[in-house]
Amino acid sequence: MGGWAFHILNGLTFAALLFIVASGFTLIFGLLRIVNLAHGALYLAGGYIGYTVAATLGAGFFLGCIAAMASVALAGFVLDQGLLRFVRGFELRQVLLTLGVAFIINDMLLVVFGGDTFTMPAPAILRGAININGLFYPKYRLFVLGLGVVMFILLWLLLYKTRLGALIRAGVDDREMIEAMGINIRRIFLLTFMLGSAFAGLGGAVGGAFLTLYPSADAEILVFSLAVVIIGGCGSLVGAAVGAVMVGLLNSIGQVMFPEFAYFVIFGPMALILAFRPLGLFGRAA
């Protein structure tokens, strides 16, 4: 029984990490209708930057996370202002452009950091395990679980309880009206894009401590995030949370029961859901 509790906790902590990454993805899609396939690459970049600041420069875990968020948010700024502005309004071209950007970022990361595996150092207070009813579980992973929950609450409050959130949601539905009110919607959208990117960076730094960082980690996290948003419905915060929990649990159960087909175990339920709801559990037509 203790074994299953352990696997379920593993699934939930992985789900929390997936939520952190996928919420950024879904935020950008839901509000800006941009599918940013460079999100996985931004995750990996954030991880490497976090590692460099935390371990190589010795600034510690939390500064590493902040550095990862800040620099990836900056990368998001450059991506939005430097490239995406040329294809605004063309959904498919935007997606494919970000895919090209993903290839470039990954390749450049390979040049700078090589093919080695890095592990982000966890902070001292989060090292070791905690005893829950006789089950020893790593403190760090519980911290990630908590972080995921806190982020969900904060994001929900931001979107549904603040003026900024109201402006963002209104801007999605009726951009002209918001502009007519004298509000610079472009700037709000840009901020959203940077915020979503920052979550990818944060995910990289946080995930780098237990998933480790290596050249193809970006593709793996991207496909997990896609599974999350496909199941949950693109653009839905609640969907991202539900999707993350499902994918996280399925993945950890799959790894125990069918180690060679862990990928496959997510695929079955995803197929089933799509058969009934092509836009995902919480998706609505654009």
């Binding site: 959904e91 494919l96 895919l99 290839f103 990954n106 896609l226 693109c234 060679e260």
Partner: protein, 316 residues
């Protein structure tokens, strides 16, 4: 009436271009040294893949990001079959094509209800699953080490002989695809691309049409993959990776979405650039990514699309 004349003139021009292109490809081995012949072999194989992508992206209005994986399944199965089941080459290739078609059919069942960006994301995720399986199912796929086999029998071991085999297959397959997109079935696909709701209202079974289009497209991608097994005699997770799907799509886009034979130009440009770039740098992924970014910004309608645009603008 003038429109009809103009379109028949365009058709004649197109036919002439195809004839010249085919002739050029037929003459390649007579003028090019061995190494270049193998590059042209690769171009022909990938042109088949790009045409398969174009059936969906150009003629059905669904942009897939999983065709590299479908292609790679055929490569894997062909090599596996040849090494472990039977030495009969044609059987092995047939097994590869059948496997690819089946994978495409399963993908189609899942993907046809979505469209636009959702379709792209879903096919991307499906393709990545194939990659994950090839990477992890070590007992069958050899994991990172991949599968190696020596498939080409003596008769086509020679570069030039092999080139002509691939040329013949590519020509037949290209003709088949051309017939397919020009058939009445192909016309309904274009109808779906332009207005799904109208086709539904006219009584067409849109889902069934999309399913068939996807599966047929996967079948052709499988043929390309089986040929690639002969060409490369090696399959690894990178054969089914996202970059392969991206390359296939880039070839279709660069050639011009909705211009079936543009795939040959697209494949030529992408593989030519790959070989040219590899002389100077190992950063092929960056070059590929950059090509994608620049194409999306400057030439989303591709090379042939551009030409066709200019021609039609000249007429007005």
């Amino acid at each position: 009436m003038t429109g009809l004349l103009a379109s028949s003139r365009a058709a004649r021009l197109g036919g002439l271009a195809v004839l010249i292109g085919a002739l050029a490809f037929a003459l390649v081995p007579l003028v090019a040294p061995t190494y270049q012949v193998s590059i042209f072999t690769e171009i022909l194989i990938f042109a088949v893949l790009a045409m398969a992508v174009d059936i969906l992206a150009g003629y059905t209005g669904r942009t897939p990001l999983c065709h590299g994986a479908i292609f790679g399944v055929a490569t894997y199965v062909t090599i596996y079959w040849h090494t472990n089941v039977s030495e009969h080459l044609v059987l092995a290739m047939a097994a590869g094509v059948v496997a690819a078609t089946l994978v495409a059919a399963v993908f189609a069942l899942l993907a046809i209800r979505t469209s636009g960006v959702y379709f792209l994301l879903l096919t991307l995720a499906l393709g990545m699953i194939v990659w994950g399986v090839c990477l992890r199912w070590t007992a069958v796929t050899g994991g990172e080490n991949g599968l190696r086999g020596s498939l080409r029998p003596g008769a086509i071991a020679d570069h030039v002989h092999f080139y002509y085999v691939v040329f013949a297959v590519a020509a037949v397959v290209a003709f088949a695809m051309w017939r397919f997109v020009r058939s009445s079935f192909g016309l309904t696909l274009r109808g779906i691309r332009d207005s799904e709701s109208r086709m539904r209202a006219l009584g067409y079974n849109v889902s069934l049409h999309l399913f068939v289009a996807f599966t047929v497209s996967g079948f052709f991608a499988g043929i390309a993959g089986a040929l690639y097994a002969l060409f490369n005699e090696f399959a690894s997770p990178s054969t089914v990776a996202l970059s392969q799907s991206v390359e296939g799509l880039l070839m279709a886009v660069a050639g011009g979405i909705g211009t079936l034979f543009g795939a040959f130009i697209g494949a030529g440009v992408v593989i030519g650039l790959e070989n040219f770039a590899s002389l100077y740098t190992e950063r092929w992924m960056s070059v590929l990514g950059l090509m994608f970014v620049l194409t999306m910004i400057f030439a989303p309608e591709g090379i042939l699309g551009r030409v066709r645009d200019l021609l039609s603008r000249g007429r007005h």
